[in-house]
Subunit: 121 residues, 2 copies
């Protein structure tokens, strides 16, 4: 409900990532309909075209299926497809730069990856 947009990334891509996150987290399951373009646009106070662009990308990636006049539905196999694709994308395209930044800043990767540093046994 809040505007938590990150200026580093276009809104339509953040919307796409949001849907992907919901699928991976099980908030949305295969066969479920996506929230409608108009609803999302209203909820986040964003232009319907921006939402459509995000959804169009998901359709291009075979993650959702369009049904005329009804809405867009999450494809069967979407979760499995996503887990593999997103993992590879993250490890190849994002993590190397992130890891370099961590080292550059003198941070310890193991500390960042441990869930709660304070309650260490």
């Amino acid at each position: 409900m809040d505007n938590d947009w990150n200026d580093n990334q276009p809104i339509y891509r953040q919307l796409r990532d949001r849907v992907i996150a919901m699928i991976l987290e099980g908030v949305l399951n295969e066969g479920d309909p996506l929230p409608s373009v108009r609803n999302v646009a209203a909820e986040f106070r964003v232009n319907p075209l921006t939402v459509l662009k995000a959804y169009q990308q998901l359709a291009d990636e075979q993650i959702v299926e369009k049904r005329r006049g009804m809405g867009m539905y999450i494809n069967t196999g979407a979760r499995k497809l996503l887990l593999a694709a997103e993992r590879q994308r993250f490890l190849k395209e994002q993590w190397p730069a992130i890891y370099a930044t961590i080292q550059r800043l003198g941070l310890v990767p193991a500390d960042l990856l441990s869930p709660s540093p304070t309650t260490e046994r």
Copy 2:
């Protein structure tokens, strides 16, 4: 010399990050001049204005100092300033989302910290 631009980020910001990385890594030291706008533009086949925009940001952040007709020089204290500022920025603005993605994808420290990427699962 390679074009390693990331479409997720404007070039001028990537140029800024590149300079910051060079300072943190000790490639550039306090008092050193930055590579000139024209040189960088030529080297990376980028518009001089784009480089200028990156350098202007660094000047705004008190990291470099302009000397008329001579160039831009890294301020004393820049490294210390950067370490603190970039650490905070990274931990507050970037790491939370990155960490969420890691968990969402079911990645474990072994996947991220080992030199060889894919481990059996």
